[in-house]
Amino acid sequence: MLLLGIVTLWLMLSFTIFKNNYNRKKSKEIEHKLIDSIVLNYKNLGVETKNNKLNWVKDYINTENGFWNFSFIFVKVHNVAKATKGTTFRAMANNIGLIMSLTNKLKSNNWYTRGKSIWLTYELELSDNWKTIIPYRNDKNKLVRREAQIALVTFLGWKSLVFFPYAEFPISLWQQIRIIDKLKSYYPTPDLAYLDKALKSKNPFIKELLIRIIRSYKLNDYKWYIIEQLYSNRIDLTECAIETLNSFEISSEDILPVYNKLEYTTNIVQHEMISDFVSHQKHQELLKTT
């Protein structure tokens, strides 16, 4: 029986090697065919001819694996070419039924399908789906809610900050990095009205994100918010505020209230961190004056 087990494992191993090689070749083939199909869209061919040539894709994406394999390649090619002709991709995604399929997958009960669908939605910039995504921003699955929040930022930009004060879960640093990345690539000019509203929020989960946004956009006028967080009851927020403040020009006027509050701090670690920061800033100030 044990020998039979070993033989079965050999067969499985052989099948895995064969399958891996097949998948690798297939993936390359699809990539080439996809690029050919994209080129086809630029050619002056009739709609029917174009559709006929894309029939293989329609069949391929009907399977779960085929759908995701194709989508990953599609996004890859899309990211390379989006700077040139974004609309071609959208039309193509529509023609092959990708958008329709995706809209259905967004409502899936499976967290992985839902999360990947949200990811695909914002990567392909299918903004029509944003209303479907909104409820997922506080999904119990970490990855789903994260993708949903990134999608909202991609589609709504600064306006999406109105949703963050209602965040029910902490926002990981990875998520913050992705949110800021999307915000900066799609909305490089800050819309301060929405930022002001978000800054009024008492929700502890978004404070770090807001600090990082202020730093990322070098919003010097909002330094006060970061200074306010120095005495937070969360040490990581104090640490983040100090790191961020180091990237700004700090004047003695900024430092004074921080210094005055120092003696009332009972947390030893926080006290040490802030006093290091204050003495470093004083030293910098001294260097400037001399």
């Binding site: 020998l3 070993i6 494992l9 191993l13 090697i17 640093l173 990875w174 990095i177 990345d181 990322s216």
Partner: protein
């Protein structure tokens, strides 16, 4: 009475063996679940998305070097070419008696800077000189020269001088994948509920692989059978063992060759223990018990991708020396942390994970050795039942083969390093030869190590003669 003793001993061996196999197959189930979960999660954590981010935590790579003049330049160049925006490299020259330091000074335009004191929370042999490069290209490189104090002491020195949130401890002779740091910081960026106190990646064996400018160009199967068998051993240990333990939050070891830690926590516990040769295991256990006492939520993460490559011993002598050292390390750590054993104060660390290490990592070679003596005694007295003994031995051998084949199958399914049929065939055959080649050497090394500790034979780290990849 004699009959009862004899039966008890035999049942002990049988039950111990059955439990061990059940645990191993439990590992397979847990590892499969963990791999599947990890694969799904990884699709959402594309490192290309964070490459240019300015909010990434800064990392210091600490690499101790002792008499590595032959390879030091290639290795430091390799470490300097790692893809990560905010990282610095501290190479601690641990009292090398060769030309390592001179070579480094000349090649990297090093200049001695004013000696200053690092963090005082960690004890180590004081730095004698500190060098920084005058060349802007190497601005993130620091070389610390100190008297020899061993690997743990050199790492402590590097940690004391690091100024970043995270510290990655490695060896100067390891080859690190270019994107390793981006992958290593992932758990630190992702976690919100629990603090990641340590993370480690899989270690690969690079003997006979093609390496250019300190970067692995093509992974090859080692020519030496001893090293080749270790490839399977590493796959089994990392892919099944660590993955499974990681899944149940029971990781007690982050490999010394490649482990990342928050510097704050390292300072709190005083860094590595220079009095043990199992400093990686010791640190991880100490960090875990520290967090248990603090009652703060934490986790130790294992990243299943091979991020660091090393040279495995390829001769019996070096292999035995290495395993002797590992056994001594384990002995020292178990002895040092014996208070954890079945201690509820440390929660699962004390009641489950540490006892596992005692019963099945520490005691396994002893049980095996005693079993062999028992068989020899039976042979001597002519009391052995040959048909049953042979059938049992074949069963155990085949079960071992099944276990190794499953590990290779899972690795082939999920990773691309060994993908050619010929290579996989070689690994499968090597694993089937393990009980006849590496395992006896391993057992010999382990028992030798234990005996040295029991009889207090004065020992050191032992030299690992490197042939070069």
């Amino acid at each position: 009475m004699q009959y009862i003793i004899k039966e008890s001993i035999e049942y002990f061996f049988l039950i111990y063996g059955i439990i061990l196999f059940l645990i191993y197959f439990g590992f397979i189930l847990l590892a499969s679940k963990a791999i599947s979960k990890n694969k799904k999660t990884a699709t959402f954590l594309n490192i290309n998305d964070i490459k240019g981010a300015e909010d990434l935590p800064s990392v210091t790579l600490v690499a101790p070097a002792y008499n590595e003049g032959k390879t030091i330049l290639v290795n430091v160049n390799s470490l300097l070419s790692i893809e990560y925006p905010y990282y610095s490299l501290i190479v601690v020259n641990d009292g090398s008696t060769d030309d390592s330091l001179t070579k480094l000074i000349q090649t990297f335009d090093l200049e001695e800077i004013t000696l200053y004191q690092g963090a005082t929370e960690i004890k180590h042999i004081p730095a004698k000189r500190i060098f920084k490069s005058t060349n802007i290209k190497y601005k993130n490189l620091t070389i610390i020269d100190k008297d020899n104090g061993g690997r743990a002491d050199a790492l402590n020195c590097g940690i004391a001088y690091a100024q970043t949130n995270l510290v990655l401890c490695t060896d100067a002779d390891c080859i690190i994948e270019q994107d390793a740091l981006l992958k290593m910081v992932r758990p630190y960026l992702e976690e919100t509920d629990r603090e990641v106190i340590a993370s480690g990646g899989a270690i690969g064996i690079a003997n006979n692989s093609i390496i250019k400018n300190g970067i692995i160009k093509e992974v090859k199967v080692p020519k030496s059978i001893i090293a080749r068998i270790q490839v399977v051993e590493y796959i089994r240990a990392f892919l099944l063992g660590r993955m499974a333990w990681g899944h149940v939050d029971g990781l007690m070891l982050v490999s010394g060759a490649f482990g990342m830690y928050p510097r704050r926590r390292l300072l709190e516990v005083g860094g590595f223990d220079p009095d043990t040769v199992g400093e990686d295991l010791e640190l991880c256990i100490r960090l875990r018990s520290h967090m248990e006492i603090l009652k703060e939520p934490y986790e130790v993460i294992y990243i299943p991708e091979v991020l660091c490559w090393t040279e495995a011993p390829s001769t019996p002598k070096v292999f035995i020396t290495q395993r002797d050292r590992w056994a001594r390390g384990l002995f020292e750590v178990i002895k040092k942390h014996r208070k954890l054993f079945l201690n509820k104060k440390y929660n699962k660390v004390g009641t489950v994970f540490f006892p596992y290490w005692v019963f099945f990592e520490f005691a396994a070679p002893l049980v095996e050795f005693l079993g062999l003596i028992y068989i020899l005694l039976y042979l001597f007295f002519g009391a052995i039942n040959f048909p049953i003994a042979i059938a049992l031995a074949i069963c155990v051998y085949l079960l071992g083969c099944i276990f190794s084949t499953i590990a290779i199958l899972m690795f082939t399914k999920n990773f691309k390093h060994y993908s050619r049929p010929g290579v996989i065939f070689k690994l499968v055959i090597a694993s089937y030869l393990e009980p006849f080649i590496n395992h006896p050497l391993l057992l010999y090394g382990q028992i030798k190590g234990y005996l040295k500790k029991i009889f207090r034979v004065k020992t050191t780290w032992g030299t690992m003669t490197r042939k070069g990849f």
